[in-house]
């Protein structure tokens, strides 16, 4: 949009074109082309709007994302309570998005903008799903007093018992709360790493800290939400994911997908990054930027992972990254070790709408034994080919992938036992816990099944103490290094746990 700049008592001030003072002559220009301007000093006598404080504190937002009128927002600027800043910065000829940190040339484009009237208004395509940021879009941040949660009751209501391994990790975390530090909690799938966080989070909340748990997947956010509501009934809790509705502004504890962190700035004293190795987190370096921006200067960052990547393992071993390991599952039984089953050139068969004999036998055996199972496949396209074949065996078999509009319902049906076999892409490889399930991978040799993905997938089996020995099968057409390493990884963890 267009702004004007003008002098007040020797200082440069700005205002949106529509709110320009009447007694001056100005030429309006794109926000991007404004000359340098000064930030007004805070006027202590101004009574600020608490709604705006809750909406904006610790964040960096577009004007459209605020519920107040432009008039009222500008009033807060005039009294020094908010700051305007550029959405796109250009340094040495390179554009950079101030929200998501994107600086890749191919992810910028421009258009002839009706808002600022510039023939070329550059915008960021990387974070466009969160509302477009172009050169003429100002970003708004809060510079008034910080939010406080003194009156909230942050008592933990939880009566579970931690295993000795969990307790050690939990104590380490509690000790670190309030320090400017990092901690890696390296815990096998099914070790109960969520429970390990409870005491630490309670301490942070009691100290009045703002806490965020960020996870790469919406499914995991949805799974965590009711648990945290139950165990921390007295605090303000907000849950953020693409398209989430019940956003509570200014909450003390925030459960969020990693993407949503782009909107936060210097907000959290404790930030817990779940599944730090997961796609898209390890994949997208702008998300790592998001975590760095969202935390306060003096914050503690906790990384959770069952399968830290090589870089992180190295840092831990070199003593640069404090870590604590939980090699044993909560129920004390070993992790199920995957079994490899060679099944020939299965893609060729799939073209004729046939699945390998071994896979079909496994399916019918699972149905006979009445065992629920996941079948992981490499891509959505293959999923669409495989599901109809299996539906002929049993019409209740379903497929689900990331873009599926019925995703939530289908996962729910599986959880309730209505679906015997759920065919899925890698979206459900993490976090989703359903007891009494077996797991198989078709096409385990495909590139998408990395070591960590395969370890995570294997981790879906044997989650209950009443059924600790779930079955894990990798149907493949040639063993890969990732498959062998995944198996070795699991055996190694079992050994470390003394099993």
């Amino acid at each position: 949009m267009r702004f004007v700049s003008f002098f007040v008592d020797g200082k440069t001030r700005i205002a949106p074109e529509s709110l320009a003072p009447h007694n001056h002559l100005f030429t309006a220009s794109s926000f991007y082309n404004l000359p340098d301007f000064d930030q007004p000093l805070i006027n202590e006598d101004f009574s600020y709007n608490p709604t705006l404080q809750a909406e904006l504190s610790g964040k960096l937002l577009l004007l459209d994302e605020l519920s107040l009128s432009l008039d009222e927002i500008q009033e807060h600027y005039n009294h020094g309570f908010i700051r305007y800043s550029k959405g796109i910065e250009t340094k040495q000829g390179y554009d950079k998005c101030s929200r998501c940190g994107n600086s890749e040339n191919r992810l910028f484009a421009s258009f002839s903008c009706y808002r600022c009237k510039e023939p070329q208004c550059t915008y960021c395509r990387n974070c466009i799903m969160m509302g477009r940021i172009s050169q003429c879009t100002p970003l708004v941040s809060w510079c008034g007093p910080e939010l406080e949660w003194r009156d909230s009751n942050s008592e933990l209501v939880w009566e579970g018992i931690l295993s000795p391994e969990q307790l050690k990790a939990s104590d380490t975390l509690v000790e670190k709360i309030g320090m400017k530090d990092k901690l890696l909690i390296w815990a096998v799938c099914g070790s109960g790493k969520t429970e390990v966080l409870f005491q630490g989070i309670e301490k942070a909340l009691k100290d009045g800290q703002r806490v965020c748990i960020a996870t790469p997947r919406t499914d995991v956010v949805l799974e965590l939400l009711p648990r945290f509501r139950r165990i921390f009934p007295g605090i303000t809790l907000s849950c953020l994911y693409g398209g989430s509705m019940d956003k509570l502004e200014g909450a003390q504890l925030i459960l969020s997908t990693t993407h949503q962190l782009f909107r936060y700035r210097e907000a959290f004293d404790l930030i817990i990054v779940d599944e730090v190795d997961a796609f898209p987190f390890s994949y997208d370096k702008t998300l790592a930027f998001a975590v760095q921006q969202a935390k306060k200067e003096e914050a503690l960052i906790v990384y959770l992972s069952a399968t830290p990547d090589r870089n992180m393992k190295q840092q831990a071993e070199d003593g640069k990254l404090p870590f604590v390991k939980i090699p044993k599952r909560y129920h004390g039984f070993p992790l199920p070790v995957p079994r490899f089953v060679w099944c020939g050139h299965w893609k060729k068969g799939l073209k004729r709408n046939k699945l390998p004999r071994y896979v079909m036998n496994w399916i019918s055996r699972q149905m006979e034994r009445n065992r629920q199972s996941f079948l992981f496949v490499p891509s959505v396209r293959m999923l669409d080919q495989i599901v109809p074949i299996l539906k002929e065996v049993n019409a209740k078999i379903e497929g689900v992938h990331a873009e599926d509009p019925d995703r939530k319902v289908k996962v729910m049906r599986f959880r309730h036992g209505a679906t015997p076999i759920l065919v899925t892409t890698t979206i459900l490889e993490r976090g989703v816990t359903i007891p009494f399930t077996d797991v198989a991978v078709l096409g385990a040799e495909e590139e998408i099944f990395s070591e960590s993905a395969l370890v995570q997938i294997s981790g879906r089996a044997g989650r209950s103490k009443d059924d600790p020995a779930g079955e894990v099968l990798f149907f493949h057409y040639g063993k890969t290094k990732a498959m062998v390493q995944a198996k070795r990884h699991i055996e190694q963890m079992n050994r470390e746990a003394g099993l």
């Binding site: 992810l107 484009a109 258009f111 002839s112 903008c113 009706y114 915008y123």
Partner: protein
């Protein structure tokens, strides 16, 4: 290596003789996205360009769909629009692409449509005066651009703006068919440039032809301003 303009995945172009000779246009959409578009070719309604493949025979009368027959029977609307042609079936995928373009504001996506859109223009409408369907002032400001204009710009010719959108109420996409057909007053009016259309053959450009109500209202204003005939071309149908 290219990056898909829609899903941002990296992909390699298929190697063909044209590719080696440097004659092929560089692709904008990856293979998976490309295959999600359903091009309209083969038999379609002579009037509105809807693919006959997609709807049962009982809704056709000779070479027209019953919707168009109804339009043509209506005395107010008969003959207002010469014909419409569209690039793709308005399926779920195109719906997502267009909504990312319009509602998320990703203007760049339109570049991915350039080659086929120009081709359709040359095949069906070469030489006509290009007029994008305008947005209301308010909507135009909100979006920052007019997607129909971006599409018109792809064609490379001169663009004329003889129309203004005056009534800005519920978004067309939120209305029912009945609401759209029950037109009380025209949402368009002639602008200062309206004189340019006199005696000319006009081509309206819009993103989607759904019921045809928007396009026909625009066409009517142009006819009243002296246009010889009005056709339209859209991306989705």
């Amino acid at each position: 290596m290219n990056y898909c303009v829609y899903c941002h995945e990296a992909f390699f172009e298929p190697v063909s003789w044209q590719f080696i000779a440097g004659l092929s246009e560089s692709l904008s959409f990856c293979e998976e996205c490309s295959s999600s578009f359903e091009a309209i070719n083969g038999e379609c309604c002579r009037m509105c360009g809807r693919s006959f493949r997609l709807f049962p025979e009982q809704y056709r009368q000779k070479q027209c769909c019953t919707d168009c027959v109804r339009w043509e029977e209506h005395e107010e609307w008969s003959g207002v629009l010469t014909k419409n042609r569209s690039l793709y079936v308005y399926n779920d995928f195109l719906r997502k692409v267009i909504s990312t373009l319009k509602y998320r504001g990703d203007a760049e996506l339109v570049q991915g449509l350039k080659t086929p859109f120009c081709k359709l223009y040359k095949k069906e409408f070469r030489g006509k005066m290009i007029v994008p369907v305008p947005l209301s002032e308010e909507r135009h400001y909100e979006r920052g651009f007019n997607q129909a204009r971006l599409m018109a710009e792809l064609l490379g010719g001169e663009i004329v703006s003889p129309l203004e959108r005056v009534i800005h109420e519920k978004k067309q996409s939120k209305k029912s068919r009945k609401e759209r057909l029950n037109i009380q007053e025209n949402i368009f009016q002639a602008s200062k440039e309206a004189g340019k259309v006199k005696g000319k053959s006009i081509l309206l450009i819009d993103d989607v032809y759904t019921t045809g109500a928007t396009i026909r209202q625009a066409a009517k204003v142009l006819r009243e301003a002296g246009a010889l005939e009005v056709s339209s071309m859209t991306v989705g149908r």
